[in-house]
Subunit: 136 residues, 2 copies
Amino acid sequence: MSDLLERLRSRGWRLTSQRRVVAEVLDGDHVHLTADEVHARAAERLPEISRATVYNTLGELVTLGEVLEVATDGRAKRYDPNAHQPHQHLVCSACGTIRDVRPTGDPLAALPAAERFGFDVATAEVTYRGLCPDCA
Amino acid sequence: MSDLLERLRSRGWRLTSQRRVVAEVLDGDHVHLTADEVHARAAERLPEISRATVYNTLGELVTLGEVLEVATDGRAKRYDPNAHQPHQHLVCSACGTIRDVRPTGDPLAALPAAERFGFDVATAEVTYRGLCPDCA
DNA sequence: TCCTAAGATAGACCCAGTCTAAGTCAAGAA
DNA sequence: TTCTTGACTTAGACTGGGTCTATCTTAGGA
């Protein structure tokens, strides 16, 4: 995580205590927090941090390519710090738990030219849905 | 489309003018309207139809399996009447246009058992993103 | 240490969607 | 054909997630 802060600083990111706390909250594997959850956890360490700052910081991290935005349900977006390793998501239809997964092959390759309608196709996101062991 | 109304009636669906208009608005290929767009088009034919009724009717059509809910951006959900033919979506990153596409193979097959974390995986949704011919 | 533009803040605001209480009506019964 | 009733519709209040704005604070260079 200090790698992340180091990378950001070297890109001219002004380092504030708020930004540091948000970045720290997003550390770990299979982390997919909503903005409100990030805010709550950040506020444990820095009680006066505002919602707007959390949204701003998350938005910047997404723009910088350090964090992915994931919208697996119609509800709040989730933020995934695992941005440097290509992966897809497996979501429990009952409890909403999310796991990062790596399918075999490139999902982009499954779309033949005839099905591209002249689009310049760049990415493919796959969301697998099912019941997790706890909910099954 | 009258097939649809017939199917619904035979399932005990009470047929009202509002429901008929909503179902008619959703007819066609590559149709992916938001609830507000459905409401606007329905209101052209039935000016006093309410937003709540449109939401209720769309929700019922989704529950009955006649319409799919699609959330390709973080904004409003879209409703896709092409529910009886399995397909995925190709979205323009610039203008948001959506096309139904059929990739080769079954995306579910690409997720090995070792990557399923004990989940009972049921479906895979793929969203392809890129620039459409008009925006490229 | 000082300065200043970048960043943070509170809270108003917006949009998509849900809920509620009251009124309306489709369709089966008589 | 009319009656009846519970399913359906309505307006509008409300909620959750997110954005915007005006003002205040501060990181970090001079």
